[in-house]
Symmetry: none
Subunit: 75 residues, 5 copies
């Protein structure tokens, strides 16, 4: 009778993992987007080019972020 009760004793760390994942991804995208926006103001004539590169780099971070969030959910 006791094993269903004690089966939930360990700390559920997946929520902490979700939080750490968002801290990492938010820092990364925030840092690169900040540089992209400052660069667009410094060289307005290549703003389109910088925006494309910003989306490419942000999509790379976005990719493993969603994969990591899914792993925190299904693992």
């Amino acid at each position: 009778m006791a094993q269903e009760a004690t089966a939930s004793l360990p700390i559920a760390t997946n929520y902490l993992g979700i939080g750490l994942v968002v801290i990492g991804a938010g820092y990364g995208i925030g840092k690169l987007a900040a540089s992209a926006l400052e660069s667009m103001a410094r060289q307005p004539e290549v703003a389109g080019n910088i925006q494309t590169a910003m989306i490419i780099a942000a999509a790379l971070i976005e990719g493993f972020t969603f994969f990591a969030l899914l792993l925190c959910w299904i693992a």
Copy 2:
């Protein structure tokens, strides 16, 4: 009778996860928006372009933030 009681013994960490998620997302959007606003003041003639790129980058962070918050709720 005891297993319903002890089933709630571990620390509920999903609230901590929610907090860490908002710290990450708030840092990211705050950093990129700060750079966007400073850039709009430095080059007012490309303010519309910078605002568009700011919303794109912020929406990327916004996306996985809501997904992470939902995971903290339903997981």
Copy 3:
């Protein structure tokens, strides 16, 4: 009789989660608003434009902050 007593044994972490949520959102909005106010002083003629962008970015942070606070309440 014992299960109502032990049911409140774990640490109530939702208050900590609420605190972390406000730390993240307060940092984010504080950082971007600080840059906005400095930029409005540097370029007073685009103050209206900067204020609009500041409200957009702050509203993005405001959105998931309220959602996270609600989750800390009802979850």
Copy 4:
């Protein structure tokens, strides 16, 4: 009877590992992409060359990130 219950006693640290992995990868890609975007604004005529090198370096980080996330899942 007791060993199935106590078998889940240790803290599940793989979620914490997933979070740390994303913090590392997000910091790395965010830092190099920030430098890439600033460099594209400083020398717009080699923007294509810098974008290629940015994707190469980001792909190197992306590679072991997904490998580490898979290890956190299957290990």
Copy 5:
């Protein structure tokens, strides 16, 4: 009967090791790639040379990263 149960009591720290490995490798490759990309913008005529050196240095970090991840898996 009890020794199979207590055999799984210690915290599984290999996941934390995987996370720390990626933090170290992500920081290293991110930092060197950032310097490489900035250098390519400062001296565009040696961009190919810098890119080759960047890949060599990143591959050195990549090498022990995969070896360390494998050790976290099979150890």
